[in-house]
Subunit: 276 residues, 2 copies
């Protein structure tokens, strides 16, 4: 099995390191435009060889993993598919799936695309932040369609199974609706909260405020891509939040303590149901 | 110096343990209605003696610290002041200050009240969760008024100075406006977020979502008190948030990526300015 990882940032680099840790026999080629990134990826043992030419890097791969920002996945997949071996597979790690999967429905030379999204990361980025244990215990979502060859899905499942805690297979639409609620909406709330408070008025900030806003430290360009490619599902969730927020404001406004206490108690029960 | 701590939960218990650690010569009396709590507080060395009768517990105190839920502070302070030595001082640790300080402007026997709020805590509660290091490095806010005797303020400053990282002295109104933004508003946002998402749709929940909603694990009754006693300042902040949220939704709605990216970049800069 030969894998090429395209893009050696936090996710691509961590993927290489995790594969070398769990499946040392798999040969990993890494592609980056930057030779300094290739050198660092080699030094960190994230890849076995580094190639700065995309076509040369993927020409003999059984599986290509695109670990780039969301907006570069579709054009890169098309370029790769032109030179990859017949019957080989492309997957990605992009944070939205509908737009990408739909654009890559048909690729040349019988190359199959299987959408993927490992739910792991941090606000840090780059090969320097890569970590062989980043995916330990985490969830990886795969989003095949009715047209996806079963063998291609199996190939991608075989990549992730040793690395993560759980794999779920759902449709791109279900993925995007789910992530809109538990990832994209929270990010926008954190940003709006910071815009509301601006510079905090005290020389120390409560832990809860730091926890709530940490996500905004991540790269604005990556997130702009995510929001742009998941707009319809995100707007649905934003409006659902607005409705909840209005309800809550009405309770506070009229001082309905019993109803507010009941709502806080329901929220606590919802939060208790989540595993830490 | 003799201190009585009224209420031996997370904050009261931690305060006793912290004082014993930093100022072992200070004698601490603890009051709780529950004898099991008094026993546990003695066992954990949070107090030197435990008394289940309020008047008896405070009769010889130079300083009484009310560490109860917000809605019990005012009636307890009035009861304590009737029997405390002339010239002694009462302070509290309540999360809102305007309503409390205003209700306790005049107390019998020349007893002075100085509002206090150590910004520390966790979603856990009770003497079992108490921790001698809970206040290490944290901020304690004191809210005297023009009528507060300087000596009373100095007494309360002397209590907290060895225990916390920093003390700030501001008006009750400034305290309540500040906390509305960095504590009470975020709590309501976390609750509305959980109400929007309900049960998360995936078998794992992203770390960022867990971080954003952890605050909702705390006691609904305590928070209901906080919201009820800081309603005007909270409504101002809720409406400021609503305005930011509308602006953000408009950007997403019309796909204005440049403006959205600029906003995310500003949010990141605001977050970077906060110390972790």
């Amino acid at each position: 099995m030969r894998i090429t990882i395209v893009g050696l940032g936090l996710i691509g680099g961590s993927l290489g390191m995790a594969v070398k840790r769990r499946r040392p026999s798999i040969r990993i080629t890494g592609f980056s435009r930057k030779s300094s990134t290739l050198r660092q990826a080699l030094r960190r043992r994230a890849i076995d060889e580094g190639i700065g030419d995309l076509e040369r890097a993927v020409r003999r791969a059984d599986l290509v993993v695109l670990a780039t920002p969301v907006d570069r996945i579709v054009p890169l997949a098309r370029r790769c598919a032109k030179v990859m071996p017949k019957g080989s597979v492309i997957t990605d790690v992009g944070s939205t799936k509908g737009a990408i999967v739909s654009a890559l429905r048909t690729l040349p030379r019988g190359i199959a695309f299987v959408g993927g999204h490992p739910i792991a990361g941090s606000e840090r980025r780059g090969i320097g932040a890569a970590d062989a244990k980043l995916f330990d215990g985490s969830l990886c979502i795969l989003t095949p369609t009715a047209a996806t060859p079963k063998a291609a899905l199996r190939t991608v499942q075989a990549l992730w199974r040793p690395l993560v805690g759980k794999i779920v297979v759902i449709s791109p639409a279900r993925h995007d609706a789910a992530l809109a609620g538990i990832s994209h909406l929270p990010h926008l709330l954190a940003s709006a909260l910071l815009q509301t408070v601006q510079r905090p008025p005290l020389p120390r900030t409560p832990r809860s405020f730091l926890d709530m806003t940490r996500i905004t430290l991540s790269d604005p360009d990556l997130w702009d891509d995510i929001f742009a490619t998941n707009r319809p599902a995100l707007l649905v969730r934003m409006d659902a939040f607005t409705a909840q927020w209005r309800r809550l404001r009405a309770l506070v406004r009229r001082g309905d303590r019993a109803a507010l206490r009941a709502l806080l108690t329901r929220s606590r029960a919802l939060r208790h149901a989540l595993e830490e």
